[in-house]
Each structure stands twice: as C-alpha cells, then as structure tokens.
Symmetry: C2
Subunit: 124 residues, 2 copies
DNA sequence: GTTTGCGTTGGAGTCCACTCCAAGTCCTAG
DNA sequence: CTAGGACTTGGAGTGGACTCCAACGCAAAC
C-alpha cells in the first residue's frame, strides 16, 4: 500500500476560509447537492478534504462568473455520473465561456462609456 | 424663437423597447426617484423624451455594469443638485470604473480557468 | 363606434441565493 | 474540569431588484 502523506481534512470554518464561501453557503450547497455529502466525524461534524476544496474552487469559479446555481447543479450531476458525461460537460463549459466572453465585451464597452462620461465631466 | 424640429416623445412601451428596460422597471425607477417625474398627457399617460432616453442610457450602463440601484439613486440625486456636484459625480464614476476593471480582471482570470478545464476534459 | 391593445395605479408577489436563528452538542486550551 | 468558541440541525427570514396583478381608462385602426 502506498504511503499516504497528505490526508488533511478541514472543519467547515477552515474550509470556508480557504474556499471563499461562508459556512452557511457550504452547508446550503451540500443540502442542494452541489457538493456530495461531506465526510463526518463520529459525532457528526463535517471534515472537508483537499478534493472537496478543489471542487469548491471550480464551483467558486463558475459562480463568480455568473453561472446560476441551477446550472452548477446540472454540472455537478454530470460529474457524478462519470466519464461518459464528459462531452456534455465540455458543451456546458464552452457555452458558459461564451457567456463570460460576452459579458466581458459588454463590460468593456460600458466601461468606455463611463470613461467618456468622466472625461466629459472634467471639461465642465 | 428657435425652430424646434425634434420634439419626439415616446410611450412607455416604445421607451421600454428603446431603452432596454421593461415598462415595469421604468415605472419602478420613476417611483424610487432614479428618473425624474416623466411628462404626462392630459389623461395621465407618460410621454418620454429624448432627454429621458439619454438618461436611461446612462442608467442602463451603470446598472449593467453592476452598480446597485441605491448608488444609482445617489448619482441621480447629484445630477439633480446641479453643477456643484460634478466633482462628486466624477469621484463616484471613477470608483465605479475601478470596480468594473476589477470585475473584468477577475472574469478574465476565471475564464482562463474554465478554458483550462475544457482543455483538460478534451484530453480525457 | 367598437374591438384590440396599450396605458394607469397601488400593492402584493416572485425569484435567487443566500443568511440567520435557536437550541443544543462538541472540542480544546488552560 | 470548565469556559469559550466552533459545530450541528431544520426551518424561517432577508435583500435586492424587479415583476405581476386586478380593475380600470384611453387610443387608434378598421
């Protein structure tokens, strides 16, 4: 058997600190199935693993780029359903990337409008 | 007296179409003071002017770049209070531009993460 | 001159994504 | 061994920004 050097686990508080979600949000995400049932101690406290944290990193990325929770749940389902769903996952992520690109282009244009407004105010 | 060639007015439906807000949102914005009381016909129907539309364009830009309604209301108040408030308006818009820039940088980074994820899935 | 549809109001309802609460248990530092 | 902080639950509450509703009045096309 391999020597398991890094089996770190984290309390929900520590996980919140590391993931950028609040404890409440972590519990909420577990409740609605965005994250699989987290390991528990004998007394019922959650212990998050590095794998959980990595998945949370993906969720954070999707969430912060504006993906609705419902679509993230769909993605989570695909991940749960194994490698057969990889083409669909790619489709989902590509669609999302397009949405993000569109959003960035829109922001850039509107940023310029704001800059123009500022420049105009400076002439008054 | 000058010849007034363009005194176009628009119904709320037309204004919605042109501004990109819904009729309900336009009424809501008027109610909360984001837009000044709109002109009315004798029978009480709203008639938006080109000036209204221009202001709505500014609001759309601010809103779509994530400015909270409350801060837009603050900006609207400044505009109402005359030219003395221009330095403050500049400060407000500059702060907002920084926020937009930050948001774009964050989106760009996270877009790359998503791209990496897609690339990875393609290797599986 | 009537039908079809656009407009009016105040107020209630919706949606999303959390966020908070109370009452209790568990952990750990001293 | 005890004090204080971290964790548990189910369920209720929040905040922001709309969005919808009913019951009605007005408009304009034929």
């Amino acid at each position: 058997m391999a020597h398991n050097a890094t089996a770190a686990t984290y309390t929900i508080g520590e996980c919140a600190r590391r993931s950028g979600f609040t404890m409440d949000t972590l519990r909420y995400y577990e409740r609605i199935g965005l994250i699989d049932a987290v390991e528990r101690t004998a007394t019922g406290q959650r212990r998050f693993t590095d794998a959980d944290l990595e998945w949370l990193g993906t969720l954070k990325c999707l969430r912060d780029t504006g993906m609705p929770v419902e679509q993230m749940a769909r993605f989570a389902d695909l991940v749960r359903d194994g490698d057969d769903t990889i083409p669909e996952r790619i489709r989902l992520l590509e669609a999302h990337r397009v949405a993000v690109d569109d959003r960035m282009a829109d922001l850039a244009a509107k940023r310029d409008y704001i800059s123009g407004k500022i420049a105009y105010y400076r002439t008054v």
